[in-house]
Amino acid sequence: MPESHINLKRIFYDFIFTLVLTAILCALLMKAIGLTISDFLFSIVIPASIIIAIIISFFHWLLCNSDIYFWKFAFLLPGDIFYYIIATNNGYSCIYDEEIKIKLPEGSVLIRPKPNHKNSEPALKDVSRYRDDFRRILKGLKCHHAGFLADKLASHISDNCGSSERSLWKNRTGALSIGESESYVLWMHTKINRTLIPIDTKNKFLDLTISHCDWDRGDFCKLDSLYLLISKNVILLLIRLIVLAFFILLILMQNPPLNIVTEPLQVQENWTYGEMHYVPIAIKNIGCDLFSVNVLNQNSSNDSSINATWSNNRWPNRWPRDYLKSGEIGFINLSVQRNCSPGEYRGNLVITANAKRNPLPDLIPYYTIIPPTFYQTYAKTLVEVPFFIRIAPKPNATVHLANGKLKHENFHPSSSRR
């Protein structure tokens, strides 16, 4: 399998993976800022997801042109396996120019050599002296580490990996001290499940151990491949989620939520028949600018004599009545007419409004070229204020009850309490 084919496949899967991620995040963001997903599916969600996925995939591809970043952050396919080889000198002298034979399985290809990390490699090249300290002292051997580079091994194998040649040899150029161990990482794409690579050397004192990480290729079913695709790229997923979370916060910053607070939270009043009563309810807008503010009066008896009127406390001819700016206070007057029949009235005042949204982050000065586009949210229910009003009959008067009957009431102090 040529390397270029794997790269194209890798880029394609990376794009699809990113597209699904961005589409989910776009949908969640739309929901968070109050836009209907179905209304803006073709105008915002899909185009924005594709554009963001292309940008992310492109920058990721640019990043992975460097060997170091490709090795660290390349998009992994289900068949990609990392092999870890540890070579230890168990002999009584230093090992020079040793050959290591690695037999690659059929249909496998080494992807790219691991670049040399000057900072991280020495930590892995610890001297395992637990067996050979006494031998070293006896023989008086002092070997100096000559720099056995892991990437040389991999690059050599990669360069010589032909379709017919499956057995690969590596001529060592450095020296391995007594008891010293070194590690190599091979990154391979294979078609065979849980492939174990035969590895051998002519030197019986060079101990070679090979293992691979746990998340190699599982069963050949599509669901398993999907799981492997996700689980192998969790690091990328996490990094991208964190970066996108910061962008989402930037978008949220310029789109505050639709949020109001009411005072009081609920209304409970005892009034007397025959008089006009009203109670003001203050509404403070602590979110974004609200448009089309509407108050719905949902009372149990659908009585028209109980009214709720909305006032935004602004000059009536200058501003639209259904507009409430962020940070301002509006009022609802809950009033009862004189002819409202005695009885108990329960209900809710439902306050709905919508807002205008700009789902593009305000970072790039694109406003100089394209004017900002604002999208209107759906009419969101902001708050419900429950009310309970008891209209007591006027003392010593014949009144029409809520059920239409006549009743003569005597005055009692308890009936007019508030």
Binding site: Y130, S211, L238
Partner: protein
């Protein structure tokens, strides 16, 4: 029969499991408050009974959530993320090689358990002290950072809405606080990885020390013969 206070509450265990769980329970409460039309925070602060109920909620839900968070951390952060890094994987390979455990038969966790039991069998109950010291000194901090990361991410998403509704702080400031918390969670993630790496190194050297000791004992016996 005198009653004794059970000594099961260890600071490291509380730090790694329970405190992030409490944090998640508070996040849950904040989320419910944001979604609820009532003002739950005012309700909690209104009298002592409500405050006690809130503390009970945090203790109960927090303890449960702490254990669940820990499992998420082991499965996803440790199992799928940290173990994918070369540095960690090479130390695990070295550990397996040292202990002569076939990595294709046992995973890293199983290998650790096997070697612990071997230690207990070889050097007695003292082995548990060494292992406990390593877990408390290194591994619990890795768990704490990882669980804190998992707890802070949803917290950073909920906190701006909660602050806006309850304390009526300006929205820009709420988002800045959210940015800050998200940044702290990223630092926690990196710290967790470093602590996990440290733990694997320390585990390797601990086992190496035991094997060295065992070999020296054998060598000295051979010299006497």
């Amino acid at each position: 029969m005198t009653g004794e206070i059970p000594g099961q509450f260890e600071y490291e265990h509380l730090l790694s499991h329970t405190f992030p769980g409490f944090f998640t329970a508070v996040t849950f409460f904040m989320l419910i408050d944001v979604w609820s039309p009532s003002r739950l925070t005012e309700l909690v602060l209104s009298n002592y009974n409500n405050m006690i109920a809130f503390i009970g909620f945090v203790l109960l839900v927090g303890t449960i959530m702490g254990v669940i968070l820990d499992n998420i951390h082991h499965c996803i952060l440790e199992g799928l993320i940290f173990d994918q890094f070369d540095e960690v994987q090479l130390w695990i390979t070295k550990f397996n090689r040292l202990t002569k455990i076939d990595p294709n038969k046992f995973n890293h966790c199983d290998s650790e358990n096997i070697i612990y039991y071997n230690f207990v069998n070889t050097i007695g109950a003292d082995a548990l002290n060494y292992i406990t010291h390593l877990r408390k000194g290194k591994y619990c901090y890795s768990e704490f950072y990882a669980n804190t990361f998992i707890a802070l991410v949803p917290f950073s998403m909920v906190v701006p809405y909660y602050l806006l509704k309850t304390f009526q702080i300006s929205w820009s400031l709420c988002i800045c606080i959210s940015f800050f918390i998200l940044s702290i969670s990223c630092i926690s993630l990196v710290s967790s990885y470093q602590a996990y790496m440290n733990y694997n190194k320390s585990l390797y050297y601990l086992v190496l020390g035991f094997i060295n000791k065992d070999n020296n004992r054998r060598i000295s016996c051979q010299n006497r013969i």
